[in-house]
């Protein structure tokens, strides 16, 4: 199904190149339709074959290796951001489940936090981090990017986990735990969390892809070198002379999202292995 969808996208791209206006569709002097020329929209095969060529003239090795190294760098940051965001999100959800007052006070601010543009936040985080000196700890530059990934990742986790912890356990199960004189903590770990898993998985999926977006955007806006975000910016500057180049990095960023989603899919399989098959759920 995935491959089919991919082929469809490729076909649409090439079809538009075939029939679309070379200089863009204009209406009252405004460009409405994108230009279909080779500089704005290189052929798919040109993008793919670009991977085999060196990054720039005279450089040894193919660009694929450069992009791969960048992707690996970004993946590690995204994973750090994802784990950090997940821990913060779960922590907030537990706090909000425990104290209704926290939920009422905090939830609106969490929602507001997500409306702050990441680009505006990125330089702030970098400068805050730069001022931070705890003991011998020096805030590394890459940590800012990971934190920005976490900033996007924590929100879906907090909201999804909160929903799961509060509404997934059946009333009778909560009564049962009460009748067994279970502490709040025991109820949390033995009932609320396991019951919340089906709510948490989709939240983690969102968080996984959001952390990639966060890190890539943070790389671009803080000028952090080494990752695909930086490559996208660099290669985009060469768009007129080497239009296919930027797509090699863009595809890598997209693939990272898929890798992260794949990691969550593995978590899903592991966490849900004992659960009833979907058909039997009423």
């Amino acid at each position: 199904m995935f491959v089919l969808a991919l082929l469809l996208v490729v076909a649409l791209w090439e079809l538009y190149k075939l029939i679309g206006p070379q200089d863009g569709g204009k209406l009252f002097g405004l460009t409405i339709l994108p230009r279909a020329n080779d500089i704005a929209m290189p052929h798919v095969w040109e993008m793919l074959s670009r991977y085999a060529q060196p990054e720039r003239r005279g450089a040894s090795g193919s660009i694929a290796l450069v992009v791969l190294a960048g992707a690996w760098f970004t993946l590690r940051l995204a994973l750090t951001g994802f784990v950090l965001g997940t821990l913060i999100g779960i922590g907030l959800a537990v706090l909000m489940t425990r104290y209704k007052v926290v939920e009422r006070g905090l939830l609106p601010y969490l929602v507001i936090s997500q409306t702050v543009p990441l680009i505006a936040l990125a330089p702030l985080v970098v400068s805050w981090g730069g001022k931070l000196h705890i003991g011998g700890f020096e805030w590394p530059r890459w940590l800012s990017a990971a934190v920005l990934g976490a900033f996007l990742a924590f929100f879906p986790v907090a909201v999804g986990t909160l929903k799961g912890l509060t509404s997934a356990p059946q009333a009778a199960s909560l009564e049962l735990m009460d009748s067994l004189a279970a502490s709040w903590r025991q109820t949390l770990f033995r009932l609320r969390f396991p019951a919340a898993v089906p709510f948490m998985i989709p939240a983690l999926k969102l968080a996984a892809t959001a952390s990639v977006i966060g890190v890539v955007v943070a790389e671009i806006s803080t000028g952090l070198a080494g990752g695909v975000g930086r490559l996208i910016i660099e290669y985009a500057r060469e768009a007129t002379s080497d239009p296919a180049k930027v797509f090699t990095a863009v595809f890598a960023a997209a693939a990272l999202g898929l890798v992260m989603a794949g990691i969550v899919a593995v978590i899903d399989l592991a966490a849900m292995r004992n659960r009833p098959p979907k058909e039997s759920v009423e």
């Binding site: 059946q170 009778a172 009748s179 033995r190 004992n274 659960r275 098959p277």
Partner: protein, 277 residues
């Protein structure tokens, strides 16, 4: 441990309810008396059913005994202790209409839950779980997951779980309400056997008259709005009850007695009453 509880139950009633009143939404316009002036003493070894139409407060009364609700006035003693202390000491086990097994735990782990909360070690827990599954005749389903079991089997696991810590008292809230008639009758016989073997006192909420009569040594008939005890029917069918009991004329006489006690009560439940002009 069992020796201690034996001597205790000789002196104290299993359940003692005195002057119990429960009002929901107190001080608000929608305040409702769920229970008024309930006095009830249940001796150790008894099987007492609470029966009555919807809104008579039978489930509320069970939850007050379980200390899942606090009474508005009056007192509940379980094994001679305040209900709250009895709950904290796990002096009773509880089973609900929904078996309520945790779908992420296998059968044995579900039975182990109360023991886990008590801090028993793994071996001791496992051993007791296996004993309990023997008792409810599901020894070969230890590693099965709840969704792989039928409704009746799930309810057996729930009973095994409720009795895992060997509490002297079992509180049941329409536990067989969701089962088909055949399974239900079978489960009733099984419940009597299990409680006989373990010498457990039972308080059982039901809205089935034959079920109440077949199981109980006493049937407490309750009337609604406000919930109160209308009458108590002693059921002297002996302790050995089997298929023949259900066809015994004495059984039918008791069924009739309970039915007549229930007659004349408003049978509409609260929702239907609210629809009337």
């Amino acid at each position: 441990m069992s020796g201690g509880s034996d001597t205790r139950t000789e002196v104290a009633a299993a359940v003692e309810v005195r002057g119990l009143t429960k009002t929901f939404n107190i001080g608000r316009p929608n305040a409702a008396d769920a229970l008024v002036d309930i006095d009830l003493t249940i001796r150790s070894g008894e099987f007492v059913s609470l029966i009555g139409p919807s809104g008579c407060g039978k489930s509320t009364q069970l939850r007050l005994i379980a200390n899942l609700l606090e009474p508005t006035t009056g007192q509940v003693l379980v094994n001679g202790k305040p209900a709250r202390q009895a709950r904290l000491d796990q002096d009773y086990g509880m089973a609900f209409q929904q078996a309520g097994l945790f779908e992420w735990r296998n059968v044995a782990k579900n039975v182990e839950l109360p023991l886990e909360l008590k801090g028993w070690n793994k071996e001791r827990r496992r051993q007791r779980a296996l004993e309990m599954l023997d008792l409810v005749k599901l020894p070969e389903f230890t590693e099965h997951l709840p969704w792989q079991l039928s409704g009746g089997m799930q309810q057996r696991v729930a009973i095994a779980r409720a009795l895992a810590a060997h509490p002297p008292l079992l509180l049941m809230d329409e536990p067989f309400g969701a089962l088909d008639e055949m399974t239900r009758e079978h489960m009733q016989s099984e419940l009597l056997r299990i409680c006989g073997e373990t010498e457990t006192t039972v308080v059982f909420v039901t809205h089935s008259i034959p079920e109440a009569v077949y199981l109980s040594t006493r049937v407490v008939v309750m009337s609604p709005r406000p919930g109160r005890i209308k009458t108590v029917v002693e059921v002297d069918l002996g302790s050995e009850r089997d298929v023949d009991t259900r066809e015994d004329p004495a059984f039918f006489r008791k069924v009739t007695e309970v039915r007549e006690a229930l007659r004349g009560m408003p049978m509409t439940d609260l929702d239907e009453a609210a629809l009337e002009p």
